[in-house]
């Protein structure tokens, strides 16, 4: 990368220095920085678009040297359990007559899990499902559940991508994490 030392271009002059501070080695910096930026922007999107909320930061805070993959482990665990739960709800919805209490219990569980990892959109859909459940509105429940499933699937995919990228980028210092 050509370094422009001309004072007329302070940013570009600073850039390598900045990169230097941020990353270990210069040559990898660029590649890493690209990925880093990609990662950072991906993460920013997740938050901006409401897929994740503050609770996710809490999880990140818990991650440290002794549990370096804590967040990913938790998220994996969540999707494993929640997928099962979603399947149960699906099944329960097929039944007739509808057992709304049971559905509500399922959904309460799902909502609790989702909120604990910061899955905001999913949590909201769960809430609206529960409202339909309370009113024993079967149609509403069915529609709402489709949304829940969709959010679940979307978040799963996005987070999978995120963690994949995270692995590629490697351990980065917290300074690169936004919102801390």
């Amino acid at each position: 990368m050509a370094l422009h030392f001309s004072s007329a271009h302070p940013i570009s002059a600073l850039h390598p220095l900045l990169c230097f501070f941020l990353h270990d080695t210069y040559p990898e910096m660029e590649y890493a920085s690209g990925l880093q930026r990609q990662l950072a922007s991906m993460k920013k999107n997740l938050f901006d678009q409401g897929y994740l909320d503050e609770q996710f930061y809490q999880l990140e805070e818990l991650q440290d040297e002794s549990s370096p993959n804590f967040v990913e482990e938790v998220v994996t665990l969540f999707f494993r359990d929640s997928s099962r739960l979603v399947a149960n709800i699906d099944q329960a919805l097929q039944k007739y007559p509808q057992d709304f209490r049971r559905l509500d219990n399922f959904m309460h569980q799902l909502k609790g899990s989702a909120s604990s990892i910061g899955a905001a959109k999913m949590k909201n859909e769960c809430t609206s499902f529960r409202e339909f459940c309370n009113k024993e509105n079967r149609e509403g429940c069915l529609r709402s559940f489709q949304k829940v499933k969709k959010e679940h699937a979307v978040l799963k995919q996005k987070l999978e991508n995120y963690f994949q990228l995270l692995k590629q980028v490697g351990p980065v210092d917290k300074a690169t994490h936004s919102g801390n």
């Binding site: 609770q55 809490q58 999880l59 805070e61 818990l62 549990s67 804590f70 482990e73 938790v74 665990l77 969540f78 359990d81 929640s82 209490r101 049971r102 509500d104 219990n105 309460h108 569980q109 909502k111 609790g112 899990s113 909120s115 604990s116 990892i117 910061g118 309370n134």
Partner: protein, 705 residues
């Protein structure tokens, strides 16, 4: 966000001399905590959700606590019991599949006296309130953040402080002194960092506790107890002895000194007893409030009220009485009482009985049938029951039947007769002549309410029908909802065992010399209102045995209405163990606390004859492990009840009747009962109390909280 990590003791108001140093360590050391406190705090975490469990565990580790996790409440409880004194604090989720978090909370409070913090995604005020009233020291809303967790150690210290104060001021503490201390401590509690309402309620609770304790202290001046005593662990046996002593004395008259004397346990101090009594009373009070497991339910209190009001007198008779007599299925009771009643959740609701006992008045048989259906809907029997009780005219004699390991039945003066049997009923139930209403007083607490509750939950069709409710109480353990829980009362003379629908626990004390089958028609009964199927309770079947009937000649000893025979136990489905504990207070409020108790049903067994006659203080203990088959002549239904242990103690004093029934769950035919039996293999009489509680909980299989 880490400033809290450095606990500022001043914010917690440590009431120790060294708290002024501002270091939790110093303060902790003064209270006897390890110096690295709060690090190393031994926390037990209970949550059925694996994701939450993992996250919160990690958070707790970050706070340097020593965490043990558990995803099952039953496991947690057994762990706590095995390693008594090992844990400092328990963190538990509210909604768990195998056991209600609040029940777990109560158990822990009674048995281990550890601070418990509840957690839930549910932030409705009523649920939070429930947590507080059940004794949780705090309530965290999920998703849980780490900041509140950094402060949970304050609850441990606070509790220890409290206990220290108790010991130091035993027997000589002036009320004012205590109050001011409590106030001070309460104010210094500062931020709990979590639920906002918890604090105020805690203060209130403390004040109440303070008052209570002071009353007790005043009674006993002779116990010096200057030195710090090691913490007493209340084992099941010890607790059982305690409860027995309390029941003997009468819950109102039970003072620590006398309890201590009765218990005759070496090394136990009056203070230990006093503090345990306090807790026990709170526990009983809580039991009087119907619980609503259903999240859909509205505010807790309002639901309660609704239920209370719901059961009124239908057709001019006491629903309760009916319930008691086992004739009225709980479902019916609720159905009868009100058209639309708030359906409470499954599970056991503690009926609130007023001082009057209730009798099943015969009338409503027909209505009952109909109502049973409704009741099955899940109206909370208790609520209905309690309603009816309250609405009942005082003139009636009602008995409060309290089936349960420790059943205390206290009947107020107003209870004139055990059961008022309306004429139609009367004819049917041909109670033995002598049974008079006065006798009724002796009756046990009506498990009916219990049953009612259960019944409503269970699908029993009720078949009380036209069963006159003999005096006395009837208890019916009726399983609640899916899980069958029901409490029934055991009357010493429970003759007929009736199993209604699901609940199979029927404790009946056989009348002396009576067999269950035989005397159905002759004896009014209705003890077990297990609402079984319609066929279950038929008029002839019900035989009532007033548990403590003062009538000398009443065959029914005590007032136990056993749903006898007729109640075609066929319906017995699952019998859940219900702990019914009702406390009859003679106060104006007329709070009834009922706790369903697992009543084991004895069929045909005769407990000590003449137990419940006018002899006061007679106690009846029956142990039976038998499988009773009750044949309902009229309905030709048979129900098999297996009862494990049944012991009924009845004591009659003045107008008060205390009935203590311990029974282990009887397993019945269908579901939960078996489950219970399986899950509680080690039930023994001693542990009836706990077992009952637990089995009730465990019986709530499938019940979703």
């Amino acid at each position: 966000m880490n400033e809290r990590m450095d606990p500022a003791p001043t914010s917690c108001g440590q009431a120790t001399a060294s708290s002024s140093t501002g270091r939790p360590d110093a303060a902790a050391a003064a209270t006897g905590m390890p110096t690295e406190f709060p690090a190393g705090l031994r926390v037990l975490l209970v949550d059925d959700d694996a994701t939450c469990l993992k996250i919160i565990e990690m958070m707790l580790r970050k706070c340097h606590y020593d965490v043990t996790t558990c995803s099952c409440a039953a496991t947690a409880l057994s762990m706590l019991r095995e390693r008594k004194g090992w844990f400092d604090l328990v963190l538990s989720d509210v909604y768990m599949p195998d056991m209600d978090g609040f029940k777990l909370l109560e158990h822990i409070g009674l048995e281990m006296d550890l601070p418990v913090i509840m957690m839930s995604a549910d932030d409705h005020k009523d649920v939070v309130m429930k947590g507080v009233t059940h004794g949780a020291v705090d309530y965290l809303i999920k998703p849980v953040r780490i900041e509140p967790l950094k402060n949970i150690w304050q609850h441990v210290v606070r509790k220890k402080q409290f206990e220290l104060k108790e010991l130091e001021h035993s027997g000589s503490l002036e009320e004012n002194e205590r109050e001011s201390e409590r106030h001070k401590r309460a104010m210094e509690e500062g931020d709990n960092a979590t639920s906002g309402c918890g604090e105020n309620l805690k203060n209130i609770k403390r004040k109440k506790e303070g008052k209570e304790e002071d009353e007790q202290d005043v009674d006993d001046q002779a116990d010096p107890s200057q030195t710090k005593k090691p913490r007493v662990v209340w084992s099941s046996e010890l607790h059982q002895q305690f409860v027995t002593a309390v029941n003997q004395l009468g819950i109102d008259k039970a003072v620590p000194k006398k309890i201590l004397e009765l218990m005759k346990v070496a090394g136990l101090t009056r203070e230990n007893v006093a503090s345990h009594l306090q807790k026990y009373r709170l526990y009983l009070r809580r039991l009087s409030v119907p619980q609503h497991h259903d999240r859909h339910d509205g505010p807790f209190t309002s639901a309660q009220e609704a239920t209370f009001r719901s059961v009124g007198t239908v057709d001019g008779f006491d629903l309760q009485a009916l319930a008691v007599s086992g004739q009225l299925l709980p479902q019916n009771l609720t159905a009868l009482s009100s058209g639309s009643r708030r359906v409470t959740n499954t599970g056991l609701r503690m009926p609130v009985f007023d001082q009057m006992g209730f009798l099943n008045s015969g009338n409503a048989s027909s209505t009952r049938s109909a109502s049973v259906q409704q009741m099955n809907r899940g109206l909370s029997y208790f609520s209905g029951f309690s309603n009816s009780i309250e609405s009942r005219q005082l003139g009636q004699s009602h008995q409060l039947v309290e089936p349960y390991g420790n059943v205390c039945l206290q009947v107020g003066e107003e209870i004139s007769g055990l059961l008022n049997i309306p004429s139609p009923q009367a004819t049917r139930s041909s109670l033995p002549g002598g049974i008079s209403n006065e006798q009724v007083n002796r009756s046990l607490i009506m498990h009916m309410s219990q049953q009612g509750q259960q019944f409503s939950l269970s699908q029993q069709q009720e078949n009380f029908h036209g069963q006159p409710l003999p005096r006395g109480q009837i208890f019916n353990g009726i399983g609640g909802h899916d899980s069958t829980k029901f409490g029934h009362q055991m009357s010493p003379n429970a003759i007929s065992s009736h199993i209604s629908g699901r609940t199979a626990n029927i404790a009946q004390t056989p009348l002396p010399g009576n067999h269950i089958n035989a005397s159905y028609s002759s004896v009014p009964q209705a003890l077990y209102a297990n609402n079984i199927h319609d066929s279950c309770l038929t008029e002839s079947a019900a035989s009532h045995y007033p548990l403590a009937s003062s009538i000398g000649d009443t065959p029914a000893t005590g007032n136990v209405e056993a749903l006898s025979n007729t109640s075609s136990l066929k319906g017995v489905t699952d019998l859940s163990n219900c702990n019914i504990y009702s406390e009859l207070h003679q106060n104006k409020t007329q709070d009834w606390k009922l706790e369903t108790v697992n009543i084991s049903y004895q069929s045909g067994q005769n407990l000590a004859p003449k137990q419940n006659n006018a002899d006061f203080g007679s106690s009846l203990v029956a142990h039976q492990d038998s499988i009773a088959t009750v044949q309902d002549e009229s309905s030709r239904n048979t129900c098999t009840v297996r009862k494990e242990i049944l012991s009924v103690t009845t004591e009659i004093e003045h107008e008060k009747i205390e009935c203590v029934a311990q029974c282990n769950s009887t397993i019945l035919v269908e579901n939960s009962i078996r489950l219970k039996a399986e899950s509680m293999p080690d039930i023994n009489q001693q542990e009836v109390l706990y077992d009952n509680i637990i089995s009730n909980d465990l019986m709530d299989v499938g019940k979703q909280d």
